[in-house]
Symmetry: C2
Subunit: 750 residues, 2 copies
């Protein structure tokens, strides 16, 4: 029972961390000086800090989050955030409904069995924790009790279908409420047209678009905006902005030093060469001002050029009514070639201007090119995970690198690295085909804290990289980039955590026996599968500690915003001088969906996969999503401010991945039931087929209702219709606006 | 070299059959009495039989077929037939371009190797035909020559992509030419709306449709036709028609007997009971007349009921311009639930009236229900094929059923059943892991004619059954039924011929060695794969004889129409009395796509899969498609008359299956190169990925252009626009027409 105690230690440690972080939140969120960190969204809405803090108890955040309705969430954080929060609701529903059957029935079935005890008798090296006795591993192979687990798998699947179906319907209704209540917005009148053919020599691109759309949409076409390649002007704009900010910072610093009567009172100087280390010394302020003059003229020149020429194959087409725009966005326009691809326009904020000129062909090519590094990362990220997995069974590592023994012989170090691995010597019985017994592997020793923290850190790194890769693919809408990045990270996380830990972990743990098998030329795939299968229940305990760590530390940090809080106060104290710096020190930002969605989905995947094999995991997964639900709702209500809105386009993405998780669970179940020598295992093969059918059903029935605007909605009477000028203004990128003024004014005063 | 000689015998036999059938065609097609069989399409166009036959040489059919342009084909046989014929063009292009590299380069690479000879020396039981030496099997494992084959696989893949891409473009252009030239047709103004919600109590279904469409398509909506459940009226109509025909037949028979002054001159009588064997004797003519009166009143009652009530959830909606109809067919209408599913209406002839009232939900359910028997047939059809495969190696059969020896010891019987199997004793070396040698299997003995004819007959049976199953799924359009039936038959044929013959054939051939392995508990998947892989080149020869048999006999019969010719003359002589019987005896019918497409695709699959492994197959596949191209063009020009037109919707179906065949070829290549111990085999893994990318590209870019009507085309000026009355008349099923007259008139005269 060593393993259980180390498991409990790990749970206690995580809980303590959480209580600590909750304490930090409760205390610091009531300091008026921290209002900008804990209620930035409300500060941005010009609420008074005192009213915000007035009459708030230590748990007001939780009750507020609990009682907020969906419509309130949409009003506060937008539809996308609400859809993301619905992931938690759906997960809670799935887990709760699954647990109703799985926890009481299956756990008692397991607890009344005695396979583990028998194993321990047969093989003195095998060791099982008390926790292991509550999982399917404790049931005797071929026992009739397995029927209960089979029914459990069906129950979990049906529950998931039901919840997913209901969620889809709910999201669709939510979207419609949103569309109905809203005043008509510019994107409802606009479509994005890509892959325009080259115009003839006698006409400009906009002439061509004009005549084409006037013909196919008589009476409804209003005007078009041809979108040029904006990369150069964007670059100049950003550089100008950066230089202006630098100037502001330098001037503020200089003023400060004058006020304080500080030492020297000299104007700040720097060297112009590489990294400010070489080259002639110049006066910072003078230098920056001249650089701004230079950039401004370059920028204005480029802006003028862009406004005069039309060299692109992309245009935004504006209609004078919503119905025509909705129709145009869904219809094939070109007769016989891949030209005139019309799609509904994303909202202005959501457009990725620098990617708009990219043709479908180039977009394809970019996608394929990006596919290569993504694939490599998915696979190669297994290497650090492999190292982690090898740490999991330190004893094996010591076998390979004997010098480690001299380090780990110190009890303290050893304990942190690995709680126990006395029982983990690979069993020689593995090699004898008849009495194949793979349970003696490791896995009971996987509750060590260090490897898990390791894993958490490793998995926090890739999202940013994935986002950059997805951006390079050339999508026109921010939400597409986020979805693509999220999909990539989901692959990494599932491949590495779910498959990686189980498969590589088992292989490493049994390294010497596998080596022995290979040496003797008796390496059999069937035996390997059996070995992997038998590892499933013990691994569950590892995942439970992972889940607990994740919600205690993860959501603890999320709620307390410890990192933001510290950096805010540090920056305030030592760095911030200019206005923009002050704002940036507390700017709340939006949800980083591409990071959080895959992480949450991973927990749901683990819960679904182990719902039947080790039902106790459901309780911890439930706690994860419950805490997540509260914390993220609080974040949505008080902190994050969305940069853009894609009107719920995230749901199909989430839906598909939950369904994929279910499929993984079903396939795992088939394999594990087979390992358990259950005669009726083939009945389980119905489930993957059902999942497939459900997937196609949802794709055909519900997805179009989220991806497109129905004609019925588009025909609704509009109360306030934006004028053409408003729409055109909304769809003019900031670089081309006359009111790139903020920069111009500042630049002209120099 | 026994095998080669039996291979030659089989080729000679097939060729003789073909020459014979060609002779039959040349002679009988020039008899004026056979004009109705060989030129029915032209007779139906009221061409004079004499002008048809005048100045036709014996090979005019071939030159005519050769020189017909695509537009002529469209005019004569419709777009669907032209698209089907394009399958032959595409296959010819793929095979020819592949052969340019594969035949000269790869065959010479194989011919200059000597692995087979070495094998024969090593293992005296192994025997290879001269033909086997021209295949990749003859190249030494791990040899650098394998690079040539690797390049060959890339070449074949690239060629296929190129041809498929060009074909898609061609079909799209063809479709557009067709749309442009045509006078506007009723289906261009119509959409099909399914899953209407229940109307409120205050309105009828058509009121509801009216108000909805008037709102979302203001100004463009014309009127709607609510389609009720027509199954009962269809049944009554068919029964009435059948009884009328029976009466006509009986009367004609009676007249004839009167004229001829034949024996008895009694009126025909029959018993009314079961199968005309029991019950009271009645006068046929009287009985039929009273039955007709009864049916007519029932039919008219049902017709009246249908015209008065509206109880269905399906409607046809007619617009007053093509543009609006084209838009409506592509746009989501309902705001938030799976209602108001609008799709472009099929042409009136293509509609399956009895399925129109089926809701999407029921359609789904039916699809799933039909899936089960389909799956069982796909798998269970392997049983007869397995028997065939077991016949292939008679010796093994004799091992199992020793009494067979007493039959097959007669030389003649033995020779027909199997040309040779002296070399086929399972090699004991299989069992020793080190000197694993699987080549000694059988397969050289697979050229026997009997098993192949067996296979041909077995595979001719399922298409009709698949058609019935697909019809039961509840599709609204004939072309969808045909495509679904074709897909099902394609699975059967590929699963059974391609996988079945190779895998089951090999297993049966090596039954005793496999049994030995299993007995000794040494059954290894890796060995089995290696065994299967090594069987690939020898099986090629079996497939070549299959291809030759198929095009000689298959297209020989197709061209000579021997079956139709015989049945025509027999019926003429002994049976036909009534007008409808005379017509039915020569009615040409349409192409049976669901039978011919999978068969042609099978040959293409074989050609692609063996293009690199045994390149000689390309020559025979080329002959198959060349002959098929000529014969089917002739059939399109002179014989078949289409029942309906789906405007080229068959091409995506064909395209996907060619691509699937290529994928199968690529996966086969990966496996076989691995068996050949080629170090750079992983390079081949790029190809399946490329295929996937190409598939997605085509699906996104080209498929919408075939499945939908582009707005540009729909906006084209219409020269002749059908009136609303014309459109409504076209979309009134024959059972509800006032001119169900043909029947009414006849019925009322009784």
């Amino acid at each position: 029972m060593v393993a259980t105690s180390s498991f409990v230690i790990s749970l206690v440690f995580s809980s303590c961390c959480f209580v600590l972080l909750l304490g930090v939140y409760i205390i610091s969120s009531r300091q008026p000086g921290n209002v900008l960190i804990y209620y930035p969204r409300r500060v941005l809405l010009n609420e008074d800090p005192c009213t915000i803090l007035k009459s708030r108890g230590p748990f007001t955040w939780a009750t507020e989050a609990w009682s907020a309705t969906e419509d309130e969430l949409v009003a506060a954080a937008g539809l996308d955030a609400t859809v993301y929060l619905h992931l938690f609701t759906a997960a809670l529903e799935i887990i709760l409904l699954s647990a109703i059957f799985c926890v009481p029935v299956l756990v008692s079935l397991s607890a009344t069995s005695g396979y583990n005890a028998m194993e321990e008798k047969m093989n003195p090296r095998a060791s099982f924790s008390g926790f292991d006795n509550l999982s399917m591993g404790n049931v005797e192979p071929g026992s009739t009790k397995l029927w209960g687990f089979l029914i459990g798998m069906f129950w979990v699947s049906l529950v998931t279908y039901f919840v997913l179906w209901r969620s889809y319907r709910r999201i669709v209704l939510l979207r419609i409420r949103q569309q109905k209540s809203a005043i008509a917005r510019p994107h409802e009148f606009t479509v994005l047209v890509k892959d325009l053919p080259k115009p003839t020599v006698h006409e400009t691109q906009s002439d061509q678009v004009d005549s084409f759309f006037r013909m196919v949409h008589p009476g409804a076409y209003d005007r078009c905006i041809v979108v040029n390649d904006l990369r150069k002007v964007e670059k100049l704009y950003k550089e100008l902005e950066k230089t202006l900010r630098e100037l502001e910072h330098t001037e503020a610093l200089f003023e400060l030093s004058k006020e304080k009567g500080n030492f020297k009172r000299v104007r700040p100087m720097h060297k112009t060469g590489f990294l400010g280390c070489v080259g002639p010394v110049v006066d910072n302020i003078h230098y920056l001002k001249s650089r701004i003059r230079e950039l401004t003229s370059q920028f204005e020149e480029e802006q003028k050029r862009l406004l005069e020429t039309e060299e692109s194959n992309t245009a935004l087409v504006i209609f004078n009514n919503r119905r025509s725009a909705a129709q145009a966005g869904q219809v094939v326009h070109a007769p016989h070639a891949p030209y005139w691809r019309v799609t509904p326009a994303p909202e202005p904020n959501e457009l990725v201007w620098r990617n708009l000129h990219i043709s479908a062909w180039e977009h394809w090519l970019r996608k394929i090119v990006v596919y290569v590094p993504t694939f490599l990362i998915v696979v190669a990220y297994a290497i650090p995970i492999l190292l982690v997995a090898s740490l999991l069974s330190l004893r094996n590592l010591e076998d390979i690198l004997p010098f480690l023994k001299s380090i780990t012989k110190h009890k303290a170090i050893h304990d942190i690295l690995q709680s126990d691995d006395d029982a983990n010597a690979p069993s020689p019985s593995l090699i004898n085909g008849d009495t194949l017994d793979a349970r003696s592997g490791t896995s009971t020793g996987r509750q060590g804290l260090l490897p898990q923290i390791c894993l958490l850190i490793f998995l926090a790194l890739p999202p940013k990289l994935m986002f950059i890769l997805s951006k390079a693919e050339g999508f026109s809408a921010q939400s597409r980039i986020v979805r693509s990045a999220s999909a990539k990270y989901f692959y990494i996380i599932i491949f590495n955590v779910y498959f990686g830990v189980t498969i590589f972990g088992t292989i490493f743990a049994n390294l010497s026996s596998i080596k022995h098998m290979v040496d003797q030329d008796q390496f059999l795939v069937a035996r390997l599968i059996r070995l992997l299968g038998s590892q499933l229940p013990p691994v569950a305990m590892y995942y439970i500690t992972y889940i607990v760590l994740k919600f205690c530390i993860g959501y603890g940090f999320e709620l307390s915003r410890l990192v933001s809080l510290t950096s805010y106060h540090v920056k305030r104290k030592f760095k911030c001088q200019a206005e923009w710096e002050k704002f940036e020190s507390w700017a709340p930002g939006a949800f980083t969906y591409h990071q959080s969605i895959p992480n949450d989905l991973l927990i749901l995947t683990l819960a679904l996969c182990y719902a039947v094999i080790a039902p106790m995991i459901l309780i911890f997964a439930f706690l994860y999503f419950l805490l997540g639900w509260l914390v993220q709702r609080n974040q949505a209500l008080n902190i994050h401010v969305p940069d853009w809105e894609s009107n719920g386009s995230l749901w199909p993405h989430i839906h598909h991945r939950i369904l994929a998780a279910l499929l993984a669970a079903q396939i795992t179940a088939v394999a594990y039931f087979a390992v358990k020598e259950f005669l009726f295992t083939p009945i389980l093969l119905i489930l993957p087929l059902l999942t497939l059918v459900f997937h196609v059903y949802c794709k055909r029935t519900w997805r179009p209702l989220i991806e497109r605007v129905s004609l019925f909605m588009a025909t609704e009477e509009v109360t306030v219709q934006p004028s053409t000028t408003t729409v055109v203004a909304a769809y003019t990128p900031i670089y081309l606006r006359a009111d790139a003024a903020r920069i111009h004014d500042q630049a002209s005063t120099q």
